[in-house]
Amino acid sequence: MKQTDSIVENVAFNLVKQAVVYLPDDVKASLRKAYAEETSEAGKTQLKTILDNLALAEKHEAPICQDTGTFVFYVKAGADFEGLDCVEEALTNATRKATFEVPLRPNAVHPFTQKNSGDNTGKGIPQVHWELVSGDSLELTVLAKGGGSENVSVLGMLNPSEGLQGLKRLVVDAVIKAGAQPCPPTILGVGVGGGADAALSLAKKALLKPLDEANEEAEIAGLEREILEAANMTGIGPMGLGGKTTVLGVHVDWAFRHPASFPVAVVFNCWAARRASAKINADGSVEYLTHKKRPR
């Protein structure tokens, strides 16, 4: 066992705990703004309860939501980082440890026997996405993804001639169909192009982007704003009880497509957008990127 194994495991454990207990500052700020601006009475009550619950979770170091989600790790791996072959095992160990120590709800169920593994690990879970880059550091991000918001994900294999109009319509229809189910106000990840699987992956990964970070491509940023405005015209409101805050933010990412295919995927995150990142340097030092001031 290499020394970096235990560092990766410790950092992954800390990230899981940070993610399920403390929301990133951008999400909290966005929820506070929504509370200040919401005009529907029932909607405002929901946002107030959400903010009260966030404060209580921090005070008691308890998970914000009882659905602590399934864990998706995004690894940006420097090719020269020592011990890459042991990273997945370290992530599995960290997930298991966090399940008992935080604690988390055991959320890994065998799809055929319905048996719960009891520790959030099993075949294919936690999920690990790799990106290989040059360098000798390792950047880890965890997304704790709840089931209610995952259940309303949509993939549309549009006719390319439907174009941008088709894309916008698919997203608006998905938001309306989802209604109260994904625990609005939500964040939308929209993946465009690639293939069916690539569109869904891009959409989910887009959820990692901070809400206060605008898209670097001006045209895409405009599309994001247009979709956000349309989604908030639906009137679904916080927890579906009516109001003007249905979506907090929209992130679009894309890839080139096949001439005959126009895949568009929409993945929702509930208001409890639980993500945390850290960078492990070659010398073993660790920088926490999303939760800088949090106790560990």
Binding site: Q46, L56, H60, T68, R169, I176, G179, M233, G237
Partner: protein
Amino acid sequence: MATYRLKTPISEAQIRKLEVNDVVYLSGTVVTARDQAHRRAIELLQKGKALPVNLEGLAVFHCGPVMKKENDSWVAVAAGPTTSTRMEMVEDEFIKGSKVRVVIGKGGMGKRTSAAMVKYGAVYCAFTGGAAVLAAKAIKHVKGVEWLDLGMPEALWILEVDEFGPLVVAIDSCGRNLFLDVAKKVEANRQRIYRKLGFQP
């Protein structure tokens, strides 16, 4: 909208007073049940058998909590609501058989449940999805657990709660359904959005 503080067991008369948009803080006994527990309960009720806990006048909570054992007794760590629509196909039978008065969850329920609530005198209350610590702090004591073989999220957790809420009455016993009202408005807004974005009708 009015605010009510109710204590279990709740009578039919108390339920008939509640209207949509009222806020309720509930004290007494609440029992969790979600997909698999509902299925098992209905199998028993249809055979004329009793449930392991008598739900008459109590509240059922669509919730799969995080619990931990401390010194041999269970403590609720996080206990927010789960999506209620998954129980829509069975809730009417469940209300009929168990005589439960309050159903607590998130996301709302449909016409079948609404009809059963009118017929048998029950309400559906929405608790803010994800507000799990707030819910857990209102749980004063875990009185027991049944059907733990279904796994922690699916078991029947029998909870003693104090001022559990705020719960928003979203389906009352007069047939009003806040979620269906919102859905109607949303449907009208869909056409406004389509026009704004320039879609062909």
